[in-house]
């Protein structure tokens, strides 16, 4: 207990030290070391703290009456500790990576400010997760939102970055408003800000209040998580932020939104939900499916590496929500074991996504560091110049595509099994609706693999598409080390899924744990036969023995043969060059055409003629393939333009004449007097 507290204290002190050192070092040569090394050590202590908390007892710590009537409460049970683990693993790797990455900004920007914000950002995320009081929760939540806002606009010389920052700020405040509403409803019911009180008295909340609290929390936390249609800020902010910040935001910060949802559902009765609340789960499944499919469809047509990764985050949040929603549906129908299965699937995907998306954003950051462009149309052939970055990015790409034997496969396998288990739901309508969620889910996985073939294939393989790639070189060692940590976890959680599953079982107090690493994940059907089995260690052994066998076979039968290197087949016409390669846009053209209802693709053609209008002699021809963002154009633009319209009307009230203002005051006073008078009569 004491040990726990001191670990946490050391971590907090170190984060603060890191941020202050950042401020006081004033852009010296050592700024990067001074700011990011304390972050690394602090993250390491947080990892220790969360592991001890998961395996041991929940951690509770109160400073009474910090503000009048409000206690500062820290509470870390298994769930909070699990999310702490996710945060601290990724922040450890990212801060190691940042030591090298921030060198790029050293000449043009003030890295000291960055170090300050970076440390406070991570600290605020940790404090959000462990605070046990809605008042402090919101304070830290806002601190997290604001520091991340400043980090997004860190590169504020470009106007587009400031714009995306503003979108982010507005959307995150929109979300906070809903979270606040949800907490206030709880406060009205209980008269307390403490989550413990919410938890204990939630069973006596009226039906409508419970539903409203859930709905508000879902919208509020969903905005942070980036569900569609509240995702609008996500691709912008992730693209504008420096890549190490994008890694943190995408891997960790949007998971805090998921944490908020898990908390809300658990605090409103946990696994004792009644069938009346099945619609919570269904809503999550529907929103999750829509987010997954639309997210991945936007990701696959994107040619900006970081934007594609950002859209893929929306997709993965969708997959996590499908799992979480299934868990709620099962829990509300009292199918406890299935609910646990779906929860494990969803949380396994949460930690997996944190790990591989952190890795991929760092990989994209390395590409930007080396080439100074995010546009895939200008990349290509990086695998020869940056072999390590390429290998690590490939590991991330395979993992996120859900291919065995990497970690993404395990969580997607579990989610599919949870979907398949919907046959145990007693109501037919519910069964069919849940089962149909498997269509978008499967389509998402298929397109996700295509997305990452494109991302890796176009950026890292084949011939360089622009000249300056010939001069680039591999990124510094600290960046590679940061990525390697997460890549190793990708493999570890894929080959030995028992690690992740027993971690989740302990954290969430679920099923009995697998006894040995070689135990298969086993699900049973109604007649007690095996429904499904999966034992990754055995599969890996089979794969490697097969590799050895076929290698031996080919060498023995074929003997020694000569390998000649020659140019790629050019149909005998000679000299293939980079203009004849497939581009990122052409690679995804078939998918863009198939889903043309969503993308509305069209070609913008600009022609310029010799001698003005002579339509036979073409001087230049410019063709641009454009797709529409239907959410932005059909949902947000109307809202924005109607707001501006209303504000224009309101502005007429502001005449600037003192007599007019006096009139307004008098009208207000009269109206208020009338209101008071009338309400007394009633």
């Amino acid at each position: 207990m004491i040990e726990n507290l001191s670990l946490l204290q050391i971590a907090i002190v170190l984060f603060v030290t890191g941020s202050l050192l950042g401020l006081f070092s004033r852009n010296s040569k050592f700024t990067r070391m001074l700011t990011f090394v304390p972050t690394m050590i602090a993250s390491f202590f947080t990892v220790l703290f969360s592991v001890i908390t998961i395996t041991g007892k929940p951690f509770h710590f109160i400073i009474p009456n910090v503000l009048p009537f409000i206690n500062f409460e820290i509470f870390a049970d298994g769930i909070a500790a699990f999310f702490l683990l996710v945060i601290s693993i990724v922040s450890f790797a990212v801060s190691l990576y940042s030591i090298g990455y921030m060198k790029e900004y050293e000449t043009t920007k003030r890295t000291s400010v960055f170090g300050f914000l970076f440390n406070i950002f991570i600290l605020s995320m940790i404090l959000v997760v462990i605070s046990n009081n809605s008042f402090f929760f919101l304070i830290f939540w806002e601190l997290m939102s604001l520091t991340s806002f400043f980090l997004v606009i860190y590169d504020h010389d470009r106007e587009e970055n400031v714009k995306s920052g503003m979108t982010y700020l507005i959307m995150t405040q929109f979300g906070t408003a809903f979270i606040l509403a949800s907490f206030l409803l709880g406060y009205i019911q209980t008269g307390s800000f403490s989550f413990d009180v919410f938890h204990n008295s939630s069973s006596s909340f009226p039906f409508l209040t419970k539903n409203l609290i859930f709905l508000f929390a879902f919208i509020g936390f969903g905005t942070k998580a980036g569900i569609i249609p509240l995702h609008i800020w996500l691709p912008k902010a992730h693209t504008s932020a420096p890549s190490n910040v994008s890694a943190l935001m995408s891997a960790v910060m949007i998971k805090i939104g998921i944490y908020g949802m898990v908390r809300t559902i658990f605090d409103l009765g946990g696994f004792g939900l009644s069938p009346d609340y099945s619609w919570w789960g269904l809503l999550m499944i529907v929103v999750g499916s829509v987010s997954a499919i639309i997210g991945v469809l936007y990701a696959v047509i994107e040619h900006d590496m970081k934007r594609a990764l950002a859209f893929s985050s929306i997709e993965n949040i969708g997959i996590i929500l499908i799992g979480l929603g299934l868990s709620v549906v099962f829990a509300s129908l009292n199918l406890t074991i299935l609910s646990a299965l779906a929860l494990v699937a969803s949380m396994y995907h949460t930690i997996n996504h944190a790990v591989f998306k952190g890795l991929l954003f760092m990989g994209a950051g390395s590409v930007v560091y080396a080439t100074h462009t995010r546009n895939m149309e200008h990349l290509g052939g990086l695998i020869k110049k940056m072999p390590w970055t390429a290998l690590l990015f490939l590991i991330g790409a395979i993992s996120i595509s859900g291919l065995p034997p990497f970690n993404g496969f395990i969580s997607e396998w579990l989610t599919m099994q949870a979907l398949l288990s919907s046959y145990q739901i007693p109501s037919t309508i519910l069964q069919i609706s849940v089962a149909f969620a498997s269509i978008p889910f499967a389509l998402t996985i298929g397109i996700a693999a295509a997305t990452f073939v494109k991302l890796f294939g176009i950026s890292f393989l084949s011939r360089p598409r622009s000249e300056h790639i010939a001069k680039i070189k591999e990124v510094p060692r600290s960046m590679i080390a940061g990525m390697s940590i997460l890549a190793a976890i990708c493999i570890l959680f894929g080959v030995l899924p028992f690690l992740g599953i027993s971690l989740l079982d302990t954290a969430f107090h679920l099923l009995p744990h697998p006894a040995s690493p070689f135990d298969a994940i086993t699900l049973q059907n109604n007649s007690a036969k095996s429904f499904a089995n999966l034992s990754m260690p055995v599969v890996v052994i089979m794969l490697s023995s097969m590799a050895a066998a076929i290698f031996g076979f080919i060498k023995v039968i074929g003997g020694k043969t000569r390998k000649t290197t020659f140019s790629t087949w050019d149909c005998g016409f000679g000299s293939l060059d980079q203009r004849m390669e497939y581009t990122a846009t052409s690679l995804s053209q078939p998918i863009r055409t198939v889903f043309k209802t969503l993308f509305r693709p069209h070609n913008k053609i600009q022609k310029e003629f010799f001698g003005g209008t002579d339509s036979y002699l073409l001087k230049t021809l410019k063709v641009e393939s454009v797709t529409k963002n239907i959410f932005e154009e059909n949902l947000y633009l109307p809202i924005i333009s109607s707001c501006i319209y209303i504000f224009d009307k309101i502005r007429k009230l502001q005449t600037g004449k003192i007599n007019a203002y006096l009139l307004y005051i008098m009208i207000t006073v009269v109206l208020l007097l009338l209101f008071v008078r009338l309400s007394h009569n009633v």
Binding site: W413, I439, A450, V453
Partner: protein, 313 residues
């Protein structure tokens, strides 16, 4: 858990798929030749081709990286490992303890992922073209395949292949209406997954039509042998799945020489028959325009959706 004999038969089942798969490809080629009024090569020709290619020298593109070199190996290893999870002439495979139908699909996807990368790696338009089309096919086939698995898994109580095949063998002739729709969908998926007409023509090298061949155009020698062989294995796995899930007659559920013999003979006969049917179909239809293919896949998805609703009703 399993006796030595059972494990031995499990290994034999896996090896049977790996070793017999070129024969199935040979039968298909022979059928096509016959329907086109040619005599055609012997049905053993794919074996000769593989042996010949293994002994040949290789030409590797100067643009390619290690991805291009490891791709054939990953293809073969993933698909050959998948073969061990398939119950072939016995209703179960001891390897079913380690993996299920979804793992088999995952291994297919792993092989395809690297093939698509290899297509991009050589920096020719052909490779990109193949990868681009394959991206569309694989993305759209995924939901169809998963829905079909959904129906089969729900009808027979699991995604574990041993459970499914054992339940199928014990069931009466087509006891469930949803399986008819699943079978229609599965047949279309098999054509798509193995790159048969009307999706892709495995016999052509015309840039307008090729998909899979375009991705592997640069391969030669040992690498090409591995690619060809793993394609044959994939075809055999899918045919074996169709046969054992939808037409289980003759499969052995106990380990005696007689039943295993019958199981083996009937399996080879059924798969060959299915291969002949597919090859005959291929000779009678033309390749579809690329953007009509989604319609065909939609038929598969719709068919399995009907099947799923039928299951629940």
């Amino acid at each position: 858990m399993y006796s030595i004999a059972e494990i031995l038969i499990g290994v034999i089942q896996g090896l049977a798929i790996i070793l017999l798969s070129p024969l199935i490809t040979g039968i298909m080629q022979k059928t096509k030749a016959r329907t086109q009024k040619r005599i055609g090569a012997t049905i053993l020709q794919p074996y000769y081709d593989i042996i010949k290619l293994i002994k040949k020298d290789e030409v590797v593109s100067d643009q390619s990286s290690w991805i291009f070199k490891v791709c054939p190996w990953i293809n073969f290893v993933a698909l050959a490992t998948a073969a061990f999870f398939i119950p072939l002439f016995l209703t179960y495979s001891p390897f079913g303890l380690a993996g299920d139908l979804l793992l088999v699909v995952g291994l297919f996807a792993l092989a395809r992922f690297f093939t698509m990368l290899a297509g991009l790696d050589v920096a020719s338009s052909f490779g990109g073209l193949g990868s681009s089309r394959e991206m569309m096919f694989s993305a759209l086939l995924e939901p169809a395949l998963f829905l079909t698995i959904f129906i089969v898994a729900l009808t027979y109580g699991g995604t574990n292949l041993s459970t499914i095949v054992a339940a199928v063998a014990g069931a009466t002739l087509l006891p469930h209406p949803q399986l008819i729709f699943a079978a229609i969908a599965m047949f279309i998926i098999v054509l798509g997954e193995t790159g048969r007409l009307p999706f892709d023509n495995p016999a052509t090298h015309l840039e307008l039509t090729m998909v899979h061949e375009a991705m592997v155009l640069e391969y030669s020698g040992k690498s090409l042998a591995l690619i060809e062989w793993s394609q044959a294995i994939k075809l055999m796995i899918l045919l074996a799945l169709v046969v054992n899930i939808f037409a289980p007659w003759g499969i052995s559920s106990s380990i005696t020489v007689a039943t295993l013999g019958i199981g083996f003979i009937s399996l080879v006969a059924k798969i060959s028959l299915l291969a002949v049917i597919i090859a005959y179909l291929e000779s009678t239809i033309a390749k579809w325009r690329l953007f009509r293919i989604p319609d065909l896949i939609t038929i598969a998805i719709a068919s399995s959706m009907i099947g799923m609703v039928l299951y629940y009703l």
